[in-house]
Amino acid sequence: MTYDPARSSGYPDPPQRVGFFTDTSICIGCKACEVACKEWNGLPADGPLPEDASVLELTGMSYDNTGALGASTWRHVAFVEKQNDAGGLNWLMASDVCKHCTHAACLDVCPTGALFRTEFSSVVVQQDVCNGCAYCVSACPYGVIDRREGDGRAWKCTLCYDRLRGGLEPACAKACPTDSIQFGPLDELRERADQRLARLHSDGVTEARLYGEDPADGVGGAGAFFLLLDEPETYGLPPDPVATTRDLPAMWRWAAGAALGLAGGVAVAFLGARGRGR
């Protein structure tokens, strides 16, 4: 029995866990996912430079003028131009998205409960609860969630929670023309991904690999996983992300020790000189 985040979060009888399998080997970089996401979720156009939303400038990063996932960009297509071993050129394209981790650091660290686990096991921000502390921003091992300047709250992909509740697939998957973005029950997607990987390997595409599908990884497996054609870092993804929150008990022990040390230090300082210097 695999770990079910929704059940562990208190849903007595949750629906099947769903997620994305993004097969980058058939991504054509059309960015329909980016546009569909913004259309459906009513996100502002923030341009390639989130630091300065007023400037729309070419980044010079191949055809990527989005730059990264952010508060107003919940799908981001990366474009990598790379010479291959045969001397030819590869133009890798990959649509990145929130991973909806099994063990989600953003959710763990959120002090207000704004981030919560849905019945579909996705991780969603309740915008009316978020107080903009930005802790989740630093906690995310993928650099996904971000605080929107001017608004002050944290935003990220909701796996189209509203659409899921209405029985629809997320907007990006719906818009993807080549089915590079596949939505469905995670178990099925993993099976499909294994088959696709085997097929690519038998076709000699040895550089193909799955990313984020392994429940034994540092985030307990991602709810949105990928088939990549190069090292994860080539696409701007961490090679072995970890929900660092798993070390929290140890951290607290060190803090408790330090607190005791502080108290002890004070005690030593004061007790060692009783009666002097009043």
């Binding site: 990063m61 990527d64 730059g67 990264a68 952010g70 990366a78 650091a105 763990d108 660290v109 002090p111 409960g113 107080n131 903009g132 502390c133 930005a134 802790y135 921003v137 630093s138 906690a139 995310c140 091992p141 993928y142 650099g143 996904v144 002050g152 040895t206 550089e207 193909a208 690999r209 990884d217 090292e231 870092e233 080539t234 701007g236 993804l237 961490p238 072995d240 929150t245 070390d247 140890a250 951290m251 607290w252 803090a255 020790g257 330090a258 607190a259 040390g261 502080l262 108290a263 230090g265 004070v266 300082a269 004061f270 007790l271 060692g272 000189a273 009666g275 002097r276 210097g277 009043r278």
Partner: protein
Amino acid sequence: MNAPEQVDPVQFTDYYGRPVLKVTRWKSPHMPGYLFLGGLSGAASTMAAAAEATGRPRLARQGRLTAAVAAVGGAGLLVAELGRPERFLNMLRVFKPSSPMSVGSWILAAHGGVTTAAAASTVTGVAPRAGRAAVAVSAVTGPLVATYTGVLLADTAVPAWHAAHRHLPPLFAGSALAAAGGAAMVMVPVAAAGPARRAALLGALAELAVTASLERGQGFGEEPRLVSEPYRIGRAGTLLRAARLLAVAGAAGTALAAGRHRAAAVAAGAALLAGSACTRFGVYHAGVLAGRDPKYTVVPQRARPRVQESRPG
């Protein structure tokens, strides 16, 4: 040629040099300022309680005031970070043990409450018993306020912070103690400040020792030299070098001269305060750099056995 504090360049393909992580959105001086003031308040309140218990009214009074002012100042910086005051209150809607910020918010709320009450009692002379009770409570909240911030930073994906999760609480504890001791040396006459000098000295020595370990990346896991590099270079490196100089100078002054000359005590105390502040700003900026440059994320992760084994041929 690299400076000795830098690690030789590592080969990997990044994405146009873009960060893998989001650079922390916590702002400066808000966040490091809060770290400093929280630490100061926490240690000061603990010292106030100790002074109270050992019958040192001047130190007790100074400690109460310092703790309250620093707590209020720290809370002010937090509110400024969040943008709106009511957003801090949102923190107190729930208690979430998995979130150091939630835990910290409750600790800070309690600590802010008791230190303010204690200070108010001192200043106004009203309800002295309640004031003493508040000080006693702050002896518990104080060390927690001073050290939970180490967990706050360490419980993130920022490599320099998380890898330092064993260092940051003791570092902040020592730094807090040095600051609180320094503050007392500045404000309390030499004759009354003996325990403060000893506390400051202990704190400064702890701060120096832990910083030295931190900068070497001891116990950092994979690629310790690289992961600890942000503490040695750039703005963080400068700040931590300054912190070290100030701590050494402050400690030396405390040990050698602060017991005799008020001016020396003020100077040494100020140096320790400044050193403590530099430490917090240094740690903060190390986290900024660690988030900005993808190598700090990618290289240590690549070094893990999981990744080494799974890489296709």
